[in-house]
């Protein structure tokens, strides 16, 4: 025990470093996936909670056959029972409701204008009474049969606007008398309960333009039964999934359960978008987690490399001791056991790291086997290395430098295997992708790290001869420092392969993270460009003709292109409807001007911008629309009119039509005959320049107001103009659900990459410090100053560190290019496939890293050689100083 304590104290420094590295690995391995899970789950919940109720909830709809015996309340439970448990257990709230189809619910005698009779849908269902406060009167209690009136309640807002009060009566389809018995006030109008019945809260009030009043009035089951014969009654059972119970882990089960639920309707059909939304999210999250896995594995490989380096420093420093023990009769196993007992001390560090990780918030991930493997590596590294050294102990210590500089067949084979493994990995990765099956393949995720290590190996083989040659060149010049430093660098570069490999992996992980971030950024910029096709976009209902000129007059606006769009126009050939398209009408020349002035790198086809009025309008169509059309000409409906066009070109996309829209037709406004343009009032504008959004909104509002006030009757639309700047659209992309996870992945990659890179440089210095100490002492006896000594260190380390950092940077930049198809970056860039972009910041950061690295090296060397007591180094002779 005493000997153990003494040995632990003797190797305390490297052992502590091993402990710290294991602690960091423990935290990283256990903690990072937890945080990643937390961010993913939050993103998921956020995304789900933003969905409209028709997508988010499971709503079964269907009629009730006359002979049906079920009650809707009972069926609400029955339907839930058949769900798969994954879904059933996540139902947070559920309601049933039944209402008459609005179009079949005209009422008379309300006192409202009845040129077109008001449409009051009659509705009943569960949960209503809990959602409201009774302001006046009572809840409906319609008598069964036909005695008395059908009793209804209205919201206070509706009662006022529709001029109804307690006791008011009116007739449903002129046959059934209805009486208002209560006025209610909702607790919370924003509650999801009200989502399907907006007109139940606030009725639609027409502006005497021929539209009917539309509202929903609430009754009881007996009340609804009275009108069931007069109008079609639609039943719905709605199940709200609790977003808080969703996480990525249970997603596949929930998606499957939801898909199955589509077939589980009891004589009803399911309306939901939940499975689709969840599946889309899962795909994005998988891509993000694959990215995180790559980055994490890079960091972990670097940590493992550092562990091996720390172990090597420890073992090298104690080589003499092991040789002595062996000479004194210690068996290899005995010496291995000694060091094993010492390195067992890292286990508490690993446990502490794991516990630290567990303390971080988030859903646990199954990562402890990795931690166990890492801890095993940290525990076994020292004993195994010790036993290897003890097997072939060096008692005389002669020419250790020559031995380590020589490349044996074993090492060459290992290096070649590494390169082959990396190459194979890249090939497999490009072929299969990283996470096709949902699980991230560890080997494939390690490919970037393997690639970096391979590059490091190649570099260490290439650099020494070059540096040696430089050294000979320097020998011809004046001054000794350059020559001495370069010659030593050329000789020892082969021996510092370990730190260099770790440095390259660390730097490449950092640069990879930054490069992918830059790529995603550039992809989002481009996606925004294509989505906006302008600096600012102004949207509204309809604007009058003068609006374009007024917008152009707003200070800062340099170009304006009005557009009219119909999100669901029909394309037809003759009388035959061929499909629904997204139809856009744009003025070609002004569109081209906006594109140019707002710097969007997109050139519209000349057939579009140069189109002129002729017999038929030359249109651009999407490939899918062209397929539906089948020929060269067709018709498209816009604002209720038909426009005949010929296909002037087939294009894959057309800004600002959203990427991924498959069916679209784009018509050049300038080619549409003047008389046919009347209906094509713009509902939006593309603007170039940097105007004040408020001024644009004011001009837009004025334009909409003028349009609303024009004509015989004023229209009852509130003019709301939406102004979207490029930056806002860009920020919208940044808010995507998995964005936080991606940012976290970059943070881990860049942060740990840089930190570990500096540590690796520190190791490179430490592992050669003794040898350098001897050289420095000798040189100092020949008149070397301290300053020259420091410069010598810099000259010696500079080539290796610079080349290592640059290699890491190049690998980091090249990696996304090699792996782009596997990484699935399009998931983060609005579906836009983007080429990998080179960020000049990377180059600057690499240079900065070299400089910081050199400063670290100086600091470590100063610290180390101050402790080394140079006088002793010389007196001890070359044996102890012979390590490098």
């Amino acid at each position: 025990m005493k000997g153990w304590i003494a040995r632990v104290r003797a190797g305390a420094g490297p052992l502590a470093l091993l402990g710290v590295l294991t602690l960091a690995a423990g935290t990283l391995v256990v903690g990072a996936p937890r945080i990643a899970n937390k961010l993913t789950d939050e993103g998921l919940r956020n995304e789900i909670s933003q969905l409209s109720y028709t997508s988010r909830d499971l709503t079964y709809r269907g009629p009730k056959p006359e002979d049906a015996t079920w009650t809707p309340g009972r069926r609400l439970e029955d339907q839930k029972t058949v769900f798969y448990p994954a879904l059933r257990e996540r139902v947070e709230r559920s309601w049933w409701a039944a209402s008459t189809v609005p179009e079949q619910s005209p009422v008379r005698g309300t006192g409202l204008p009845e040129r077109t009779p008001p449409l009051f849908s009659v509705r009943t269902g569960s949960g209503f009474e809990e959602q409201v406060d009774l302001v006046e009167g009572r809840f409906p209690k319609t008598a069964p049969g036909s005695a008395g009136a059908l009793e209804v309640v209205l919201t206070k807002w509706n009662a006022e606007k529709l001029e109804q009060r307690i006791g008011s009566t009116f007739r449903f389809q002129d046959q059934v008398t209805m009486e208002v018995v209560g006025i209610v006030e909702p607790h919370d109008e924003a509650d999801t309960f009200w989502e399907p019945v907006p007109t139940g809260l606030r009725a639609y009030l027409p502006n005497d333009d021929g539209d009917p009043y539309r509202a929903v009035v609430f009754t009881d089951e007996a009340g609804l039964a009275r009108v069931a014969r007069l109008a079609q009654v639609v039943y719905e059972w709605r199940y709200r999934i609790d977003a808080a119970t969703l996480d990525l882990g249970v997603l596949p089960d929930v998606v499957e359960a939801t898909s199955v639920a589509r077939r589980q309707g009891l004589e009803t059909t399911l309306v939901t978008g939940l499975d689709g939304a969840l599946a889309r999210f899962a795909a994005r999250a998988r891509a993000a987690q694959a990215l995180l896995a790559v980055v994490q594995l890079g960091a972990l490989c670097t940590l493992a490399g550092l562990v091996l380096l720390a172990a090597r420093v420890l073992v090298t420093r104690r080589r003499g001791e092991f040789a002595l023990l062996r000479a004194r009769g210690g068996a290899i196993l005995t010496i291995g056991t000694y060091t094993l007992l010492e390195s067992l001390l890292v286990i508490p560090a690993a446990v502490a790291g794991g516990l630290l990780g567990v303390a971080l918030p988030g859903r646990p991930a199954l990562t402890w086997p990795i931690l166990v493997a890492f801890t095993a590596l940290a525990v076994l590294a020292v004993p195994v290395m010790t036993m290897r050294i003890a097997r072939d102990p060096s008692f005389s210590g002669e020419r250790a430098d020559v031995a380590s500089a020589r490349v044996g067949a074993k090492r060459r084979t290992a290096e070649l295997s590494l390169l082959v493994l990396a190459g194979l990995g890249v090939w497999l990765l490009r072929k299969r992708g990283l996470s096709e099956t949902g699980e991230v393949d560890v080997y494939l995720a390690a490919v970037p790290a393997l690639l970096a290590a391979g590059a490091a190996v190649a570099m260490v083989r290439v650099v020494p001869p070059v540096v040696g040659r430089l050294g000979r060149l320097a020998a011809r010049g004046r001054g000794a420092v350059g020559f001495l430093g370069l010659s030593r660098a050329g000789r020892t570069a082969g021996a510092v392969i370990g730190p260099v490999a770790v440095l390259v992996v660390a730097v490449s992980t950092a640069v990879f993270s930054v490069a992918v971030a830059a790529t995603i950024d550039a992809g989002r910029d481009r996606a925004t460009d294509l989505r906006m096709a302008a600096d600012v976009k102004v949207d509204g209902y309809y604007f009058d003709d003068r609006t374009a000129a007024e917008l152009a007059a707003v200070p800062g606006v340099t170009a304006v292109a009005p557009y009219a769009l119909e999100s669901a126009g029909d394309i037809m050939i003759g009388e035959q409807r061929r499909g629904t398209v997204y139809a856009l009408v744009l003025d070609g020349p002004s569109y081209a001007r906006v594109l140019e002035r707002s710097g969007v790198a997109y050139t519209p086809p000349a057939a579009f911008t140069g189109a002129t009025q002729g017999s038929m309008i030359p249109a651009l169509v999407s490939p899918e629309a062209a397929r539906q059309l089948g020929g060269e000409a067709g018709m498209v409906t816009l604002r209720g009119r038909f426009y005949e066009f010929t296909v002037a070109g087939v294009v894959d996309g057309f800004p600002p039509i959203a990427n991924g829209t498959t069916n679209f037709v784009v018509l050049p406004l300038q080619a549409i005959p003047d008389n046919a343009r009347q209906a094509l009032l713009p509902n939006g504008f593309l603007l170039a320049g940097d105007p004040d959004p408020a001024a644009l909104r004011a001009a837009g509002d004025a334009g909409q107001q003028r349009w609303a006030s024009a004509g015989y009757d004023a229209r009852a639309y509130e003019p709301v103009t939406t102004v979207t700047t490029w930056d806002q659209a860009r920020a919208e992309l940044d808010r995507t659900s998995v964005n936080a996870l991606i940012t976290f992945a970059y943070g881990i990659g860049a942060g740990t990459g840089v930190l570990l890179a500096l540590l690796a440089i520190g190791f490179a210095v430490v592992s050669g410090a003794r040898g350098r100490g001897t050289v420095l002492s000798r040189l100092r006896t020949m008149g070397l100053t301290r300053g020259q000594g420091r410069r010598l260190l810099l000259v010696e380390l500079m080539p290796v560190v610079t080349v290592a950092v640059l290699t890491g940077a190049v690998v980091g930049v090249v990696m996304p290019q090699l792996l782009a198809p596997a990484l699935g970056l399009a998931a983060f860039t609005d579906g836009l496939e983007v080429g990998v972009t080179f960020d000049p910041v990377v180059a600057g950061a690499a240079v900065a890293l070299v400089l910081i690295g050199m400063l670290t090296a100086l600091a470590v060397e100063t610290l180390f050689n101050r402790r080394l007591r140079l006088g002793e180094v010389l007196r001890l002779g070359s044996f102890d100083a012979g390590e490098s």
């Binding site: 003797a10 000479a327 005389s396 001890l876």
Partner: protein
């Protein structure tokens, strides 16, 4: 060849020799078993460094008897340390015969080699720092080989260690770590450590190389004590002229072969005192080769060819 007479006062080398021989005979079980404790015959060791072969030993012959105190001298690079490493079981010869006691150093298995290092031999190196574990006290250092070999443990080991330390005169350093001891104390402690497991042979590679004269004398005295008191065969590689005059037999190695041998014998003088007689011999190998001393060659300006005349009791060498 040459004979020099040296009259020395005590410590009586002859007495020490006699005592060592007696102890060795006790250990071996009879004075007739003293011959040929270490035997090297045609020993060859070839190193390869960066593809270049270096022949460190070129067919070396050497026989050392049990209980002998032998000094090996030679210029730097002559192969002394290589020989010592081979005899210590730390290095393996390329060819020839090397035997220590029952152990054949060429064909030893790893297990046998371990047992050889544990029980048969002990070493002292030149660098004081290399002999002791820096983080253990002198006593703990001496106990270590016993624990490694499992020969003694606990109190028995500590008692034995203390005895040995006292024997070499550094008992007062028992609780000091190497950095709290002088170089001489460290080396004497190393001598105690080397014989902790009661080995039959002790090898010392320039044990006084790093020490000043008086300290070196202390260390050598320790070696002599060990040799005389325990009957351990001691082989010392040295440059130190003082050391080589204090042993009975000194062999010189040149170019990986044994070149000459000096033997010191004591005889009674006419006035009743003891006189040490030093005789230097050239060594004749099995093929009949021998090296002429460089001084003789220069003196007679011998070059390229020489004439040999066979007389009844000698061989004459003349200029050719």
């Amino acid at each position: 060849m040459s004979t020099t007479d040296e009259t020395t006062a005590p410590p009586d080398l002859a007495t020490l020799q006699a005592r060592a021989a007696q102890r060795a005979a006790d250990r071996a079980g009879g004075a007739d078993r003293l011959r040929g404790h270490l035997v090297c015959d045609g020993l060859v060791r070839i190193y390869k460094t960066e593809g270049v072969e270096v022949v460190a030993l070129q067919g070396l012959d050497l026989v050392v008897d049990r209980g002998e105190l032998l000094a090996i001298v030679g210029a730097s690079g002559s192969g002394k340390s290589t020989l010592l490493n081979i005899l210590s079981g730390l290095d393996v010869p390329t060819a020839g015969i090397a035997r220590v006691g029952e152990y054949d150093l060429l064909t030893m298995s790893a297990k046998k080699r371990l047992s050889y290092r544990r029980h048969m031999v002990g070493f002292v190196w030149q660098q004081t720092g290399r002999n002791l574990l820096p983080y253990l006290t002198a006593l703990e250092n001496v106990v270590t080989p016993m624990r490694l070999a499992g020969t003694r443990s606990g109190r028995a080991a500590r008692t034995r260690a203390m005895e040995l330390l006292d024997m070499v005169g550094v008992g007062y350093c028992a609780d000091r770590r190497p950095d709290q001891m002088s170089g001489g104390e460290q080396q004497r402690c190393a001598v105690a450590l080397a014989v902790a497991n009661d080995p039959e042979v002790l090898f010392a590679d320039e044990p006084t190389g790093e020490l000043d004269e008086s300290t070196a004398a202390d260390v050598f005295t320790a070696l002599q004590t060990i040799n005389a008191e325990l009957g351990v065969t001691v082989v010392v590689v040295t440059h130190d002229p003082n050391v080589s005059t204090q042993v009975r037999r000194t062999v010189a190695i040149r170019d990986g072969r044994l070149a000459s041998e000096t033997r010191r014998t004591s005889r009674a003088t006419a006035d009743g005192g003891t006189e040490l007689v030093s005789e230097e011999y050239a060594v004749l190998d099995r093929a009949g080769r021998m090296q002429l001393p460089a001084a003789f060659v220069e003196e007679l300006e011998l070059k390229d060819r020489v004439k040999l005349n066979l007389e009844s009791d000698r061989v004459e060498v003349r200029r050719g």
